[in-house]
């Protein structure tokens, strides 16, 4: 999954061309494929889909916001998924969620201005034995505590700033 903001105009055109029926039934599969390719649904993507399926942008945005799976900002270089499933909840994932929001300064669905972090809430990752669990760029971090989380974020920041130098 690319993490930078990309317009992907050609890839979007290709995805649209693969749904040649131009039926509005294809809306959600098209949006899913675009998100898989681009990481999010940009304004350009929504207007292209709208033109292709003859649907207003407001309607597409309405459908897409109905589901939790779609995001409208590009992913950060570190994409954090916080599990809010039942087991994680019992083990205190609400606190973990608040901690993450505090540490990285963005709400679920958002991306930090420096594009370093993005945050997503997921219902269950199927790793209940590790609760409360978070996932950063596909890597699981088990039994999160405030201390472990702060350390994780600090390490990422340090790595990024030493890379920048």
């Amino acid at each position: 999954m690319p993490t930078e903001e990309v317009t992907n105009a050609e890839e979007i055109e290709q995805i649209l061309a693969d749904h040649a029926g131009r039926s509005r039934d294809d809306l959600i599969p098209i949006l899913q494929e675009i998100q898989d390719t681009c990481g999010y649904l940009s304004r350009e993507a929504v207007t292209s889909v709208g033109r292709y399926l003859n649907l207003p942008a407001s309607k597409i945005y309405g459908v897409a916001t109905f589901y939790n799976q779609f995001r409208f900002e590009p992913l950060g270089r570190y994409h954090i998924q916080v599990c809010r499933g039942t087991a994680c909840h019992v083990k205190g994932s609400a606190g973990v969620m608040d901690m993450v929001i505090n540490e990285i300064g963005v709400q679920p669905g958002q991306t930090s201005r420096d594009r370093l972090f993005s945050l997503e809430v997921v219902a269950c990752m199927g790793a209940c034995g590790l609760a409360p669990v978070i996932c950063v760029n596909g890597e699981f971090h088990a039994k999160m505590t405030p201390r472990k989380l702060a350390q994780l974020v600090a390490e990422i920041r340090q790595k990024e700033s030493s890379n920048a130098e």
Partner: protein
């Protein structure tokens, strides 16, 4: 014919109709929040529940078809309890600031709460205030007041074919908003204000410029000129509780003078001027092989609609400015010069049945040297508010005449306020311009009435003219698609953004049903019947303006002041 028993009365109903429609016809009132005349029911709000006595079930009257032998109760304890709970739940996430609400006194939710005896907050906390969308020139959104009935969404999509707004999010987080939650100013909203008319609460209201106008009226340094649109005089009385369809033209002029306006002009004068220009333009296009069908350009919501959705029809739009903007341009040129007033000291106000006019007057095309031709637009509703604020009681005033020279009008200019009026006025004048004779019967029946699409085939001199009249932009979409598809029998199409025309505009008094709109329309046609000057070209002040200033229709001065060009507009559609 089938029979129902409702509240122990037997009533007759037609096969296939809904319970609500049968009840309404028999004068039995059932409250609704989401119901819309002429559109299929959604049954979203559940306010209209009635009890089916044999099953003791509550069913929604708006969406349930009648059945023979049905026994219903419209106000059993169960029904009233359910309705009351619905209102209590709607209020549970509603702000408690009715005193400060723009809709106070006209709010359906407030009236239901009052009527059902809700006297305390039953659940929840008052909704925290969320940011209002004040970005648009015409319409303000206050999402915290929204009860998600969906009427604005349906109006925008199913009647206007615009879909600037839709439901966003899900469940308790759902709101109504433009795509990407952006402001209305960058959306495809055409500012027609039909959403305000159907909104049951204060979630949608007009962007008011009352304070600016009041400040101008109080400033001795400014010269404040007002114009009023053809459709305002037949609706303003409703703001003062009068029956619908009462014309108060003269009293309104008197009232505007009492407010302190230095000159009171009638936009119907420039409606006559529009006809002179537009009929000449049509004749010119027909003679020179210009782009046809020509489309009218008086309705600013429609103009933005073409710019966004049908840019390939830009050349078809008449280049005439709307009557409001023609009046504005003349006030700040000819009038300012003649009276020796610096145009920078003139504040030009217009009273319109329309919210899109607020957008129109701010368009960059509509002024010169960075001075707008019309400074502020007030709706009919805002004028009602201004009059009450200043203590000017309209019903008690003696009628007065509008000021010269832009106070004279023909009835052709006046009927601009109803869908079909522009076409009727244009045909009367075109007939005279092409044949040199007046029509034997100026009334053109096929162009009248509240139907969304009307058409006319007429022989004017040697010319066979095909004309169509549409109102409601969903209907405009359909006809433009036909023209795109090759339909070529039309020379001239009148388009009004609002269904029925300006009499049902987004700035008109609230709470009007179809019969009220019909009464407003009849009031305009009664004026047309009862006055002697019924054609725009017989307006002597218009003739004099051409002699003294403009020269001739489509002449150099006209082009400079009365015509303009529009361009493709990029918005998120």
């Amino acid at each position: 014919m089938i029979t129902l028993k409702v509240d122990n009365r037997t009533i007759e109903a037609n096969e296939g109709e809904t319970i609500l429609s049968a009840l309404n016809r028999h004068g039995i009132h059932v409250p609704t929040l989401c119901h819309m005349e002429e559109l299929p029911p959604t049954g979203a709000c559940r306010m209209c529940v009635v009890e089916q006595e044999d099953t003791a079930r509550l069913i929604t009257a708006c969406s349930h078809p009648v059945a023979d032998g049905m026994v219903l109760s419209t106000h059993s304890p169960k029904v009233l309890g359910a309705r009351r709970m619905i209102v209590e739940l709607l209020l549970s996430s509603h702000p408690d600031d009715c005193l400060y609400c723009s809709r106070s006194g006209k709010c359906d939710l407030q009236q239901l709460a009052e009527g059902l005896g809700v006297r305390r907050r039953a659940a929840g906390e008052p909704a925290p205030s969320t940011p209002m969308d004040v970005s648009g020139p015409s319409i303000i959104r206050d999402p915290s007041k929204c009860i998600l009935c969906g009427k604005c969404v349906r109006t925008c999509e199913e009647i206007q074919g615009v879909s600037a707004i839709d439901f966003v999010g899900r469940g308790s987080k759902a709101t109504v908003a433009p795509a990407f939650d952006e402001g209305l100013n960058v959306s495809s909203c055409i500012n027609c204000g039909q959403c305000i008319i159907v909104c049951p609460t204060g979630a949608l209201s007009e962007h008011s410029y009352l304070d600016e106008v009041a400040a101008a009226l109080a400033d001795p340094e400014t010269f404040v000129v007002v114009q009023h649109a053809p459709a305002v005089s037949v609706t303003l009385a409703e703001e003062f509780g009068a029956r619908t369809g009462k014309d108060v033209d003269g009293q309104m002029v008197a009232a505007l003078r009492r407010l302190g306006f230095d000159r009171v002009f009638d936009t119907s004068f420039t409606a006559d001027l529009t006809i002179m220009e537009e009929a000449s333009e049509l004749a010119h296009r027909v003679a020179t092989g210009g782009r046809l069908p020509m489309l009218t350009s008086c309705s600013p919501g429609w103009i933005k609609f073409v710019e966004q959705f049908y840019p390939d029809f830009m050349e078809n739009l008449s280049t005439c400015k709307s009557p409001q903007q023609m009046m504005g341009a003349i006030i700040k040129s000819f009038f300012a010069e003649r009276e020796g007033i610096d145009k920078r000291k003139i504040v030009s106000v217009s009273i319109m049945p329309c919210t899109a006019k607020k957008f129109e007057c701010q368009r960059p095309e509509m002024g010169r040297e960075y001075i707008p031709d019309v400074d502020y637009v007030l709706t009919t509703r805002e004028l009602g508010r201004l009059l009450r604020m200043y203590g000017v009681m309209l019903p008690s005033l003696e009628p007065e005449q509008a000021d010269n020279p832009f106070g004279e009008r023909s009835t052709a200019g006046k009927i601009f306020g109803a869908s079909g009026g522009v076409m009727e006025a244009a045909v009367r004048t075109a007939h005279f311009l092409l044949t040199g004779k007046e029509m034997d019967e100026p009334q053109i029946r096929p162009l009248r009435g509240l139907k969304g699409v009307k058409s006319l085939k007429a022989r004017i001199g040697d010319l066979e003219v095909g004309a169509a009249v549409v109102s409601g932009l969903g209907n405009a979409r359909a006809i433009l698609d036909e023209v795109r598809g090759g339909r070529d029998d039309l020379h001239f199409i009148e388009v009004m953004t609002c269904p029925g025309g300006c009499i049902a505009g987004g700035g008109q008094p609230l709470g009007a049903d179809l019969s009220a709109i019909r009464a407003r329309m009849k009031a305009l046609y009664k004026i047309d019947r009862s006055e002697p000057i019924r054609t725009s070209h017989s307006n002597t002040s218009v003739k004099r303006l051409y002699e003294e200033f403009l020269g001739e229709p489509l002449g150099h001065k006209s082009h400079e002041l009365l015509h303009t060009h529009y361009g493709k507009r990029e918005v998120m559609t």
